[in-house]
């Protein structure tokens, strides 16, 4: 079963706009929620992450919003740039393990 559901599958945003990707999880036994960014032909790389005792984390143009009661978290990319065009994966780490459960991925295209 898919424990982490990600939407949308694809997203097109104009340069300077805000990109928003959403994830929902089903299991409460997660203790860490990262977002990974993947460029074509490359492996994923950690972008930003949050722990469930925090409602928001911001790093530059990237922000994670976390809603524990709704079991949802989202990635916001402010002032989106063509260089942000990539596939983004949310994930959730199972407590007391090193295992990540990934969402299905979102392909973002930022048009100049």
């Amino acid at each position: 079963q898919q424990q982490v559901k990600q939407s949308p599958q694809s997203l097109i945003v104009q340069k300077g706009g805000i990109s928003i990707i959403n994830c929902a999880y089903e299991n409460t036994a997660f203790d860490y929620f990262p977002w990974y960014q993947q460029f074509p032909g490359k492996g994923p790389a950690l972008l930003i992450a949050i722990r469930p005792d925090v409602s928001e984390k911001k790093e530059g143009r990237f922000t994670i919003s976390f809603n524990k009661s709704a079991k949802q978290f989202s990635l916001h990319i402010m002032d989106s740039q063509p260089g942000d065009s990539a596939t983004y994966f949310c994930a959730a780490k199972k407590s007391n393990t090193g295992k990540l459960i990934f969402g299905q991925g979102t392909t973002l295209q930022v048009k100049p």
């Binding site: 032909g41 490359k42 492996g43 994923p44 790389a45 994966f89 990934f102």
Partner: protein
């Protein structure tokens, strides 16, 4: 440091053939992972290892075997390849799993495998 490297980068197999994918990391990480990436399905964990000499099953282990004889290497084997195993395979490693510790999985560049 090279980080996480994977060999080979590309491979085409016929149904029934076998092969081994090699993952190597030079960061002295304890934990290593093998994932497969398929369109619309994200990354799914095949097998993982929490240290030298240990292996454990992930979400989709059937048809694969692994070995971790040395801390820096993690091998993924396909004994009898099937078309359903056509995918991009990623290896990853991480140093710390503790609650207060930083947790980041470092991924290799991937191996694109096609089974005909």
């Amino acid at each position: 440091n090279a980080g996480v490297t994977q060999t080979p980068k590309f491979r085409v197999l016929k149904t029934g053939q076998s092969m081994t994918l090699l993952c190597a990391q030079d960061m002295n990480h304890e934990y290593m992972y093998w994932y497969r990436q398929d369109p619309g399905m994200g990354l799914r964990l095949i097998h993982y290892s929490v240290g030298e000499g240990t292996t454990a099953k992930g979400e989709v282990p059937d048809g694969y075997n692994v070995s971790r004889l040395k801390k820096q290497n993690f091998l993924l084997g396909l004994e009898s390849a099937a078309p359903s195993q056509t995918s991009v395979y990623f290896c990853a490693s991480t140093a710390t799993v503790g609650r207060e510790g930083a947790y980041e999985q470092y991924f290799g560049p991937g191996t694109r495998l096609t089974v005909t």
